[in-house]
Structure formats: C-alpha cells, structure tokens
Symmetry: C2
Subunit: 560 residues, 2 copies
C-alpha cells in the first residue's frame, strides 16, 4: 500500500471554494487561505443547529495507535458516501509530535484530510498565534517584575501612573510555551546576566498545554475570548492575590494576536467531505477536544458532524461531556468507540495465547463501553481493521460488543478502502443518531468539589481519593476566589484508566492521588493533577524530523 503522504499527494484536491459551496457558505462567510484551506467567519455559526453530533472515542491507547482520527475521517467519508451532509471537526496537529514521532495527525491511508502536509505543518498559523499570545503575557509579567523591582513600587507608580502589582517571582504561574518537543526547556532559570532579572525559575510547556489553547477551543466568540483571556491568572502577588491578564493590561493585545485564530479552518477529506480543523488542546493536561465554534459552524450546515476527543474515553471523551458540552450546551446524539484487536491484546496486561489476551483485554473495552453508555448515549463500536486481523477474532469481538449492550458494532476498513470501507459503520452511526438518547453529565456542577471529584474517581474504578497538602492549599485558594464550582479537568496518564500507567485493563480498588490543583480561570475549569504529568514532551532517539526533507520539486517528503 502507498504511504499516507503518497496517497495525499495523488489525491484530487478540490479548490476549497467548491468545498465551501457544498458546505452551504455564502462567499461573505469565508476567505481563502491558499488553494486548500479557508478561514470561516464566526457569522457562519449564527444559524440554528441542524445536525446531529457524533463523538468518537477509543479504548486505552497503545503505542501502535488505534486509528481514532482515521475512523473519524472515514466515518465522515462514509456518511458523505451515503448522501448525507456530513462534516468532521478535529484538532489541529501540534508540530511536537509531527517532528518527534514519524507521522502526522491528519488521519491515514484512504481516510485522510488532504493535503496532509498542509494540515500537519502549521496550516494558517493558529497554534503559532496561541504561542505568541501566551509568550507575550510571559514577557509582560517579567518586564513588569523587572521595572517594579528596579524602581521600587512607589517610583514605578509615579513614573507610569500604573498601580504596582508586586509580583512574587517565586509564584509566577504562567510558564512559556513552544510548539516543539523540547525537553531541555522543561525547567530553566531565567533573568540571568546583567540587568535582566530578577533571576527566577520557569520553563516551557508545549503550546497544546496552554490555557489559551483551551480558551480558543471553549469560547463562543471574540468578546467571550477577550473576557476569558482577561481572567487568566498569571502570577500571585507577594501578598497572595492573583494577578490576571487584565490586571497586567495585556489581555487586549493577547486577543488581538489570536483574532484570526478564532476562525475555524475548512479543509477536505480524500472523498471531498468537509473537515473543520480548529484548536488543539491535549487531552491529558487540557480538555482535549476541538472547538465549540467549529462544532456550531458545522452543525448549522450539516446533518451529521463527527468529532473526536483525545486518547481513551476516560480522557477526551469524559472532558467532551463534562467540560465542552457543559460549556456549549450541545448534547451529542451518539458515540463511536474505536478498538483494534491489537489494542485489546496490548491492554490485556497478560502474556498468553491470543484468546486469553483478547478475553483479558476485553475488560478494558468493556469499561470504556460502560463509561460511554453511562452518559446516556447510543454507542457504536468501530473495530478498526488491520490487514492481518483474524476473521474469527473479529466476529468474536463483534458478538461480544453487541452482547454487552452496544447499539451497534461494525468493522471499519476506512484506512484501506476509504468511504466504502466505512459504509457499514456510517449506516450504524446514522441509525444510532436516530435512537433515543438521554445525554447527561457525570456530575452536577452544584455538587461540592469533593463530591464531584469522588464521582469521577469512582467512575475510573478508584476506591478513594487522597488530596496532598499542596492540593488542599490550592483548593482553599480556589474556594476563596469562588471558583470551586468549575468543572474538573483530570490531568492523568492516558495509558491506564487509573492514574498509574502500569495498571492495565480495567483497574479498580486503587486510591486516586491528587497532588495539586491548577485554576484555569479563563478556560473555566480546575485541572486536577494526579501525579507528575508531562507538559513538555521530549524528542526520542530517532525523531521524525530525520525523515523529513524537500525534494527537487520543492515538495515535502518523509512526513508519515
């Protein structure tokens, strides 16, 4: 079979204006960004919702990848093939993984967004805008600290007419960001040298971890984005008060930098179905879903909108339900759970023959099925097929899923066969969308913090929760600010349903340790840290960039 890149390059990429026409967008609602992309005006979200929203999730991920984006794009292509108006809404790929590990995030095989190198390489620059806005705030804090320290608060105020903020250099909460995997920037000391200080610690996260990325994904319009950015907490003062971007006077400029990024980017799948690509928060440290604005734009113009949450259903899907849907008020109509035979075996946690490993691994799938159905959604399990999968095992798995209460279970061959390979899945999903559903959040936002946390922990299989000293102190501050009723964003490993990557399958009886809380006052959630969570990846021994180059024609090669 051809590589993803070869398939993309051979694709018949239609002028983006044709895709926008099919979408139903008047010419005043979009502007071309090269031949293969268009930025969509927020006015396109004003029309009422017309379509059904399908959320795609997966079992606990394995190093091989389960093909969630392949299934999301393939399903959209399949619905399109059936004659439905269908649109995919997915996140913009971070450059970190693109250059860190071989391959992009535009789907794969015959279920791709094209041109894949356009999607994988900064598109219209939205992520760069988030990086830039984020780092402007960081520079502004340090500059204010520098000038106030240099002059003293009174002279500072006299010279500038601004109130001194009295920033505590040991409690600057706003790190910097870059959209690369750069281990050496995780922890740095800055302000060294003459007249650059005060010296203090800091570091860089990957841009997908920025609160501004979460804001981009959760805001409704530019005024809402402006207000949320104004609320982000950058640092604490020496007397213990939070200092926001509005306090620093930098929120307007940050919003100006992100003004174009708020518009979703229209691209196309290999079959010519539309795809809106917008925002890219990670699902382990942020809420892991593409934007509310893109969903609204797509739902106003399509019968079916297919979106996906990052990692397994314990991660992006949970946050889709309890954070994103709560913020937007948009209930999904059905869910798709992606699984592969390989993932079942890898998630089994046992060595044995294939049938033993499948049986043990099914516990993980079973948990994810129960989790999804627990939100009141009709569930279709999509078995993403690999060429050497055993027919007997596929048949066994399908039967098990149906026996366990799935509304449907279909084998998806979208990777190898595109839209046609997802036809059965698309039929099942369309039926599921017409089935009765009773979507509800896992917890009520009026419940107190402890009760909400315990509800989530129990769903993961935990017998209890422990809060560290730091976490208690964080909670006290958040409560004092009156923000303890915000939804919870659990930061944990994606490699287990629990907080511990070593616990495979569907662990239970463990204690969920909460080591700290982070208030995202702008994004509107409280991040619950369960152990050390990596916010800046590193490059491996043989990073993906080694394969990437341009050829004689100036085309990019080696990208997946």
């Amino acid at each position: 079979m051809l590589t993803d890149m070869e398939i993309s390059r051979q694709a018949n990429v239609r002028p983006i204006g044709w895709i926008a026409d099919d979408f139903g967008l008047g010419k005043h609602l979009w502007r071309e960004a090269g031949h293969a992309m268009a930025k969509i005006s927020l006015e396109a979200a004003r029309e009422p919702r017309r379509g059904k929203l399908v959320i795609v999730t997966a079992v606990t991920p394995t190093p091989h990848g389960e093909g969630k984006t392949v299934t999301t794009i393939g399903l959209t292509q399949g619905l399109h093939l059936l004659g439905h108006k269908a649109c995919a809404c997915i996140r913009q790929p971070s450059l970190g993984p693109v250059f860190g590990v071989k391959g992009g995030a535009a789907g794969g095989g015959y279920a791709q967004v094209v041109p894949m190198e356009v999607m994988n390489l900064h598109m219209t620059g939205d992520i760069h805008a988030v990086t830039s806005a984020h780092n402007l705030a960081a520079a502004a804090i340090d500059a204010r600290l520098f000038h106030e320290t240099r002059l003293g608060p009174d002279a500072f105020s006299a010279k500038t007419g601004l109130q001194a903020l009295n920033i505590d250099p040991e409690r600057i909460l706003w790190r910097r960001v870059l959209d690369h995997n750069d281990r050496s920037l995780r922890q740095i000391e800055l302000g060294l040298g003459d007249n650059n200080g005060p010296v203090h610690g800091g570091g860089f996260d990957i841009t997908a971890a920025s609160e501004l990325m979460a804001i981009l994904a959760l805001c409704e319009n530019i005024a809402d984005m402006r207000a949320r950015i104004g609320r982000v907490i950058l640092a604490m003062s020496r007397d213990g008060n939070p200092i926001s971007a509005d306090d620093l006077g930098v929120a307007g400029a940050m919003t100006a930098i992100m003004r174009d990024a708020i518009e979703p980017t229209l691209m196309q799948t290999l079959s010519g179905a539309p795809c809106l690509v917008h925002a890219g928060p990670f699902a382990n440290i942020a809420h892991g879903n593409s934007s509310i604005i893109a969903d609204r734009v797509a739902l106003a113009h399509h019968d079916y909108v297919v979106t996906e949450g990052g990692f397994g259903s314990d991660m992006g899907f949970e946050k889709f339900c309890n954070i994103k849907s709560r913020a937007s008020g948009i209930a999904p109509s059905a869910a798709v759970l992606v699984v592969t035979l390989r993932a079942l075996k890898a998630n089994s946690g046992v060595d044995g023959d294939d049938s033993e490993r499948l049986e043990a691994g099914f516990a993980n799938l079973h948990w994810h099925m129960q989790n999804v159905m627990g939100y009141g959604l009709p569930l279709v399990v999509a078995i993403n097929r690999f060429p050497d999968d055993s027919m007997a095992e596929l048949a066994w798995l399908k039967e098990r899923c149906l026996a366990e209460g799935a509304f449907g279970c279909e084998i998806s061959d979208a990777f190898s066969h595109g839209a046609e390979g997802a036809r059965a899945l698309a039929i099942a999903v369309a039926r599921a969308c017409d089935a009765p559903s009773n979507f509800e959040y896992l917890y009520d936002d009026q419940m107190d913090f402890g009760a909400r946390l315990m509800t989530l922990a129990e769903r993961y299989g935990a017998a209890g929760v422990s809060l560290s000293e730091d976490a208690r102190r964080d909670l006290a501050m958040i409560t004092q600010l009156g923000m303890d009723k915000l939804p919870l964003c659990i930061a944990k490993t994606p490699l287990s349903i629990s907080h511990d990557p070593a616990l495979k399958g569907a662990p239970s009886g463990f204690e969920l340790p909460v080591v700290g809380l982070r208030l995202s006052a702008g994004a509107g959630f409280i991040t619950v840290l369960t152990g050390k969570v990596m916010t800046m990846p590193g490059l491996g021994l043989l990073p993906g960039y080694l394969n990437i180059d341009i050829n004689d024609k100036g085309d990019i090669i080696g990208l997946g």
Copy 2:
C-alpha cells in the same frame, strides 16, 4: 489628523486579486491569503528584470523616527500616481516592536500599507515559521546531547545507526528565538530538573536576529534555502569541529517548516500600489533588508521597485550594497536618503539655537550623502516634512544638499498628503534612475579579511581597528573553514556612524573595536561584533501592548 489606524480602517482596501491583476500575475502565480494578502509563487520571479531598483535609506536614526518607511511607501504611491508601474518591497514587522513601542511598521499617515493591523500582526505567519524552524534545530541539538550523554557515544551509535556528534554543551552556538521583546530570556540556564540535561547556559534572541531570517531574505529559491539551512553551524564538537544542521539531520525538516514562508506576500498601499512584504532581518545584528526573491518578483513586473534598508546608510544601506546586492547581482539604479529637520538637530550633538544645531547636524547628513554617493549611485535627498517645520529651514537644507552634490532634493509630504505629497520626490527619483550610475561594492570579496574590515572601518571614520583575543580566535577558525572571504556584516549601534552611540554627527579618528566574529555559514556572511550588541530587546515602562485591544465589533484598536 486621524491616527494611522483610523486612516487604515477608512481605506478603500481593494480585493487582493485586483492588485495581483494590476501586478501582471497570472492566476496560477498567486494564492489568496484572506482578502487583503496573497502569497506569490516563486515562478513569478522567473521573467527577466524589467525595472529599476531604488534603495531608500536615512540619516542616523533618532527616537522620533525619520519616516523611512513612510517615504518608501509614499514614493511608491507617487510613482504610481505619475502612471508608472511601481512596487514597494519592504520587511515584515517584528511583533517585538509592535507590542513594545506604540506603533507599527506599515508606514504611517497617508503613506501606509493597508490594512495596517494585518501587516503588523503576523500576516501569513512567515516570522512564526522562522521561529519554529529555528527552535526545532535548538531542540534537536539538546535532544541529541541528552541522548548521547545518557547512553555514551558507542551505545548511542549502536542503537541508532547514527554517528555520535559529541556536542560540546559549552559551545552550542545556536540560541533560541521568539518574536517578542523578552529581556528575561536573554540569558538562561536550561536542562534543569531530573533527566532534562545536561544543564548548560543559553538564551533567546528576537526572531529578526535569526540566521534563518537572513537566509530567507538572501536565498534565491527553495533548493538554495535548503542548501543554506544545511550549512548553518549549530554547535562545536568537543574536538573542535563545527556541527551543521545537515550533520544533525534536521535541515530538511527546518526547510519544510519554512516552505510557505519563502513566498513573498502581496499587499497594497493606500493608493492601491502593490507592496511585497517579505522577511525581516534587523539591520544592527543581521543584514537588515527585505528579500531578494521579492525584489526579483517585483522587478520582473514593474518599472520602478522601491525598497529600504534598516536604520541609517551606515547600516541597512551598506549591507544592501555589500551583502544583498553582491548575493543577487542586482544593482540599484538610484538611492533616496531620508532626513528630517528634527533629526538633523538631534544628530548635531550640540545645544544651541536652531541654526547652530542644523549646521552641526548637517555633518551627519553630509556623511550619509557621501557614503551613498560613494557607491556610485545618483542620490535624491527626501526631506520628510513635519507640519511645524520652518519653510526657511527647509529651503536652506534643500540648497545645502544640492550644493553638496545630491542629484536631487525634494520635500516629501506623503505622510499628510499621500501620493500627491510625494509627487515631486517621485519625479526626481524617476529622473535619477535615468541618470548615469556606476554602482560598485565598497570592497572586493577577494581582498583579505583585514583589508576588507579596514575599508569598512575607514568609511565609518575610524582611524584603526582593534581585534580582541576572541575575535582573533574566531577569525582563525573561520579561516580554517575556508570561509574568511565571505562579506562582512557589521553588528554595531545604529545610533552613531561609529560603534559608540555617544559619538554624534560624523565622528572620526576613533578606533573600531572588534570583540568577536560570528560565522553565518548559511546566510553567507561573517558578523563582526563591535562591542555588546543587543539581540533581544526588552519591554519598556509603558509598553505598546497596554493600548491594544479589540472593540465591540471585534476590530483591533490602539495599534499605532
């Protein structure tokens, strides 16, 4: 008078397709990037040169600004008004100054590129692409250092099949970059914490100082860009050998990131004349001119192309002649030297009455006139007029300039009156372009390093040159690599013709101290450091970002 922003907002911004049509570009040669910008294919540079190139420079800059970009845009508008096919080629503004000091870099008044907020706020993301490509290389060096240190060179090679590079952590030459003014990142320590090391020093420059930005401005096509990026020296090995981006295997990926950035962006002036905006190297630490590719595209389709070099004629103009023109082989036909009465007085270095200050300040203008004419170019002095300028002083100045050998001298009112205000200047410049010229470089690139440096130093007024111990060591290494014949890029203060900002007017008899040399093997020049040159600005007491916000309509306000 209205603010720059108000004028821009009231402008009749034409669809960029109309501008591209006027330009003479077939539809296959450009792609829309929003309604006000288009990316131009490099194929548009293939047709032979048709037009005359005019280089705009200025006297030694003062804090008020002399209006060089206003004059560049105004002159283009004036030539356009006269019925000539005229195009401006300027640099993309860095976000550092945009948020650091009030105001943008799109010209001003009625001589602007519009929409000014589009030009001033990351445009199509070229600078972000440079930042990203630069920082990928930095991450790659540190990751390689990390893995080789962790495993040891033999185990590293055995595991990866790659030769160990043996990077010296104390001699990593490639710093990181951000497009903001961020003083606290000038000097940092990185690799702190567990398993992120080895710990070593580093820091960030502003992106305009990146060698990749110079490469973008100096390369001819994507293959040339790829080759130049491959040659950049990232670090030294422990045994003293340079390690290039090709050695690290990261040059292809860096080029892929910059693939779209190589295409100039077409915008328009207030009068509808075209403007190509491309690349943005600073003139104090890099070569300070927009791209060769943009000049070629413009010259293939216009009678007159107006470009500018950064800072005074000792800086960007000198580098235009000795670095950019040498690389491109494109000789300019005429030069424009911008001066204001205010700048003359400020550059006088004396306290006294206006006539004494003008007379003393004229020494500075005189030096710049001689410098420009010394390159064999017909010179038109453009007096950028301010509303309260004295008519008598203007008349005196014009007479002096003509007496000192200027081909022409005209008052420019483009700020207040747009194209009409630059009519006389445009007529004079068109005449100058038809006058005989005899452009020649200041030095021959076959002269040895010392002789070339002395030639430059003498032009600045120096009586001699001193090389520090470091500079001698740097020179030995550069000579050993066979690169000592590359053109020189003097890094010095823009605030004096000398290396010392305190020396006003036209200083002479000083010794030019060279404290170090930096080989830019990819850009193709040797940077000569004359004292401590700032490569990362800082934010001031009342930074420009305080004024910037969005209004109820989502429009950006407060930007200049």
